[in-house]
């Protein structure tokens, strides 16, 4: 099995919702596992809302997405025109302080890195390329 789908969504919070709905349909159309059906929407929420809030910060732009599935992997590539930002270099989230001192910053990317088998970032032609891949057979 090999399939890809590309789409563009507005770089807004409603655009994030459109992207997640489109992935839901992709998931359904290709019979992807339950593990993919929650991991990727969650990861899209984290990465895209970060681009919208911090990367674009109100500037009108679209975000390009490619969903793909083959016999081994499910993957999503996210391409945006915001300023260069490599989420993989963000400081790790605080996952051990007591309640009073705990801050939620950086949790999103920490979750994405741990829920995916591979994440990659590249800056090319004034665009950010972020890719995440998950192998359904590894665990679900």
């Amino acid at each position: 099995m090999h399939a890809t789908q590309t789409l563009s969504v507005p770089g807004t919070l409603p655009g994030v919702r459109l992207a997640i709905q489109a992935f839901d349909r992709f998931c359904h159309a290709h019979g992807l596992s339950d593990g993919a059906a929650w991991r990727f929407p969650l990861a899209l929420d984290e990465i895209l809302s970060n681009i919208v809030r911090h990367g674009l910060a109100g500037r009108p732009a679209s975000i390009d997405l490619t969903f793909s599935v083959d016999t081994e992997y499910v993957a999503i590539e996210i391409v945006d025109e915001a300023d260069a930002f490599n989420p993989l270099l963000a400081p790790p989230a605080d996952t051990s302080s007591p309640l009073e001192e705990r801050t939620p910053g950086g949790l999103g990317i920490t979750l994405v890195r741990q829920l995916m088998d591979e994440t990659a970032y590249e800056r090319r032609d004034a665009r950010n390329y972020f890719t995440m891949r998950w192998r359904p057979n590894a665990d679900s």
Binding site: W38, D45, L99
Partner: protein, 113 residues
């Protein structure tokens, strides 16, 4: 996301259904803040109908847990489906909360406190 609510033995059980993410977390936060503003001091959040929770939802749970503590209230979470359990674990959130198997167990714990 939809949010249902049940009251038993002086405890309010909040039952969100669907996805808790950037889009829906504000509604959950508003609901829980509304309960706190009414003076509710024993709250169970039942996750059994939740598909997943993203960091936006974790942030809400962190804020609500702090507010409950400041008010000497008690908060318990229950009914974690596997995606919710995994996210709480990866975020290091499990030690911050009382997590019970079921709503009955959670209500039992808070009602007796």
């Amino acid at each position: 996301m939809q949010i249902a609510e049940a009251r038993r033995e002086g405890v309010v059980a909040v039952v969100p259904a669907g996805r808790i993410d950037t889009t829906t977390a504000p509604a959950l936060e508003a609901h829980l803040n509304g309960l706190l503003a009414q003076g509710t001091r024993r709250i169970v959040v039942d996750f059994s109908r939740v598909d997943y929770i993203s960091s936006a939802g974790l942030r809400v749970m962190l804020i609500v847990a702090r507010r409950m503590k400041e008010r000497n209230g008690r908060l318990a979470l229950c009914g974690f489906p596997e995606p919710v359990r995994q996210v709480f674990q990866l975020a290091g959130f499990l030690p911050l909360f009382t997590v019970c198997e079921s709503q009955d167990v959670a209500i039992g714990q808070l009602a007796g406190s």
